[in-house]
């Protein structure tokens, strides 16, 4: 049987191609992975920046609202818009320090013990007429 001298070269070349493919795949995978890491890191950074930006805008709006709610501004608006709002004064409430139940009962039944209540009610009779 004739010895095939190119068999070793064939195997070497196949092995080489497989190795190149394998190494290339690993390399491409690594590059892709690193790219994905970069993209994710950038996305994270962008998100953090956007959150910070929105927080700053919210802060700005809050400050504007607070400024518009300052007492002197509200007073000016009250005059300008003719709202006629006045500062709160003492609430007309009678503060009760005594026993509330007794007080309520006394108020509810105060008519019972007046002179008018003590006087006997007039009695009337209807006389039948035939």
């Amino acid at each position: 049987m004739k010895k095939d001298s190119s068999a070793f070269a064939n195997q070497l070349l196949v092995g080489l191609i497989v190795a190149i493919c394998f190494g290339g795949s690993i390399g491409l995978g690594t590059v892709w992975m690193r790219h994905q890491i970069s993209v994710t890191a950038k996305d994270n950074r962008d998100l953090a920046a956007q959150i910070a930006r929105l927080e700053r805008l919210i802060d700005e709006k809050k400050t504007i609202i607070e400024t518009e709610q300052a007492p002197d501004k509200l007073r000016t608006l009250n005059v300008t818009l003719g709202l006629g709002l006045v500062p709160m004064t003492q609430i007309p409430v009678e503060h009760v320090t005594e026993n509330v139940v007794e007080r309520m009962a006394r108020l509810a039944h105060r008519d019972l013990f007046t002179d008018a209540a003590a006087r006997p009610a007039p009695v009337t009779f209807r006389i039948a007429q035939h």
Partner: protein, 644 residues
């Protein structure tokens, strides 16, 4: 067996070529990564690292109801690197000029590239900021090459991130506009003009303008806390800047994946004050009314609760912390918190000290009768003349000495106590020493050691002369009666909260010490109720439906070496309801004589009505309930000689 594709020499040649290419590639890699590594890394390390600094947001100062008294607003300083501008962006320039509210010609002038002649070599510094492009996010960025420092405050800068070359240096930073709001910066950013930069910084804003200005203080343009709570609580408010060390690409863009170190920024804590904006506004409105009606030199009003927390503190004149730099040099005194930094003779308000001390020492009772018609009295072997009265007074009980504000009665109470005891009680009431109020540069007032007193002082100090005190000291002395005999530390901070709104520290009622017993305090409160009742010196301070305890004061001012009869300090310090005090109010008006009735500013005519007006407005706001007919203090006032 098949010969396969290797039978051709071409295949071998191709394989050999492949190997040669890979070999060359490998050799080049070895050259770059091993042999020439140091040189390559050196050049990359010069350009790629970048430090991005992040400014911390200064914490807010809030009132007791959560309203912001001081806050931070992010603003941007917009600038341009004229050398980085591109022709394609030129059509956007008019729009940019309109947004910046700047004439287009001026904008174009600033966009003109310029150079600066090289200066003498300066000492290198570690970091020079590179401004954030308008289209990117972040604060200052620093490259780590030696260069001259630059600040956003500068109008122009020629800092060049590239290594210095001989010859003129390009000016890389020209300021276009500062104080640009975030919303406007957003619109500028969307124009996407290359070379237009924004440097972000926080500016302090006081939304309520002059409200509580003396308490809040202000932060100056260099972001340095100068006065008030801003300075006192700066440690908590300022936060901590953050930074991150990253790498950048050839277009100066951050490469977040190569971030090596990061210290996140820590925003400042917020400080919640005991100040109630509504109460503070009422007080400042009252001061404005006093200023308009009497045109005083100064005036101060303090309102506190019985736990020593200040609800309002205001002075006339005042200032707007948003415009602190517009206060003329000659009027800078208006920025001083006069309630704690200026001293006055307390006048008759001080009479509560000898009266309370004499009661506490059981030398007198509220019924004890004192002859207030005497002109002289023997004390320690000396015949001392007693101070004069506004009108003739005869035999008065101790209660009447207080309600009628008899100078001679107070002097005799002082003589009963003696110098040492009177001095001890005055110190215990808080006179002559700082109370520990955190803001405003509190002073101690003047109360000399009793060993240094002149013999006549024992007759003058009990009526509030020869002693000086701050408004706050007078206020706290009256608080001793209101709190049942305890001197409290006046406090203004309720809580400190972190950026996550978690309470870091909560302040509680702090006692300095007991001065008099609760029984003596109750008796004093009863006697002081007599002041605002018929026959007392301050019926004008009475509030319908409430027992008001208080004391008027009218002290002459010492002008040009003598006690003036035309310049007075009018005061009223009191609290209500007398039996269960909810609020303590002090009104002090300095030199309101020229517009006062009869040309003399008495505490009764100037300060007492203010007390009543403020008190009436506080009733619904603080939900103050009347003590009703069972008022203990009121009972004492009636039964123990408040009115005979």
């Amino acid at each position: 067996m098949s010969r396969g594709f290797a039978s051709s020499y071409r295949i071998l040649l191709l394989g050999g070529g492949f190997l040669a290419c890979f070999g060359a590639l490998g050799a080049r890699l070895v050259w770059l990564h091993v042999v020439d590594r140091e040189e390559r890394i050196k050049s990359v390390a010069k350009v790629r690292p970048m430090m991005v600094a992040e400014a911390a947001r200064r914490g807010d100062i809030l009132d007791a109801r959560g309203a912001r008294l001081a806050t931070s607003r992010s603003e941007v300083v917009v600038g341009v690197d004229p050398h980085a501008l591109l022709r394609r962006d030129e059509k956007k320039w008019p729009e940019l000029a309109a947004l910046l509210d700047m004439p287009e010609a001026e904008l174009r002038e600033r966009f003109t590239p310029r150079w600066r002649e090289p200066a003498a070599p300066a000492a290198p510094v570690v970091a020079a900021p590179v401004m954030t492009p308008a289209g990117t996010e972040g604060g200052f960025q620093f490259n780590l090459t030696p260069a001259a420092p630059v600040s956003a405050d500068r109008d122009e800068d020629d800092t060049d991130p590239e290594p210095a070359a001989p010859g003129p240096r390009p000016i890389r930073w020209v300021k276009l506009k500062e104080d640009v709001p975030e919303s406007l910066h957003e619109r500028i950013r969307k124009l996407n003009i290359q070379g237009v930069y924004g440097v972000r910084e926080y500016r302090r804003v006081y939304p309520s303008n002059q409200l509580a200005a003396h308490l809040i203080g202000y932060v100056n343009r260099e972001q340095k806390a100068v006065a008030g709570m801003e300075a006192y609580a700066d440690f908590y408010l300022r936060g901590q800047r953050g930074w991150r060390l990253v790498e950048r690409d050839g277009r100066n863009r951050e490469l977040p994946q190569f971030g090596s170190r990061e210290v996140p920024r820590v925003d400042g804590f917020s400080v919640t004050l005991s100040i109630d904006s509504t109460v503070q506004d009422i007080v400042e409105q009252e001061l404005a009314y006093l200023a308009e009606k009497f045109e005083p030199l100064k005036a101060s009003i303090v309102v506190s609760d019985p736990d020593g927390f200040i609800l309002a503190m205001a002075n006339y004149p005042t200032f707007n912390p948003n415009e602190f730099n517009k206060v003329p040099k000659a009027e800078e005194a208006r920025m001083k918190n006069a309630a704690v930094a200026d001293i006055y003779d307390p006048g008759s308000v001080f009479k509560i000290v000898p009266a309370a001390a004499a009661l506490e020492e059981r030398l007198v009772t509220p019924h004890t009768v004192i002859d207030c018609s005497l002109e002289k009295k023997l004390h320690n072997g000396r015949m001392l003349s007693l101070p004069g009265e506004d009108h003739r007074m005869g035999q008065l009980t101790v209660s009447e000495v207080i309600s009628h504000s008899s100078n001679r009665g107070a002097a005799q109470l002082g003589m009963m106590l003696g110098e040492e005891r009177l001095h001890r009680y005055a110190r215990a009431f808080g006179f002559g020493s700082r109370l520990g109020f955190p803001v405003g540069g509190e002073v101690a007032g003047i109360l000399h050691p009793w060993q240094k007193w002149y013999p006549i002082d024992i007759t003058r100090i009990p009526m509030g002369h020869s002693v000086s005190a701050t408004v706050l000291q007078m206020h706290q002395a009256m608080s001793v009666i209101a709190t049942g005999g305890v001197l409290l530390r006046p406090q203004i901070i309720r809580q400190i909260r972190d950026a996550g709104n978690e309470t870091v520290y909560a302040y509680q009622r702090a006692e300095i010490g007991r001065v008099i017993s609760p029984e003596t305090a109750a008796r004093m409160a009863g006697m002081l109720v007599g002041v605002t009742r018929k026959g007392g010196t301050a019926l004008e301070a009475a509030i319908e439906g409430f027992d008001v305890a208080g004391k008027t004061g009218t002290s002459q001012k010492f002008i040009n070496g003598e006690w003036s009869r035309k310049h007075h300090i009018a005061s009223f310090v009191g609290f209500f309801p007398a039996a269960r005090p909810k609020v303590i109010i002090s009104v002090i008006v300095d030199d309101a004589d020229h517009r006062a009735p009869n040309g003399v500013a008495y505490g009764r005519t100037v300060a007492a009505p203010s007390f009543r007006r403020i008190g009436e407005q506080l009733i619904p706001i603080l939900n103050i309930r009347s003590g009703g007919g069972s008022d203990r203090a009121g009972t004492i006032a009636l039964s123990e000689g408040g009115r005979r």
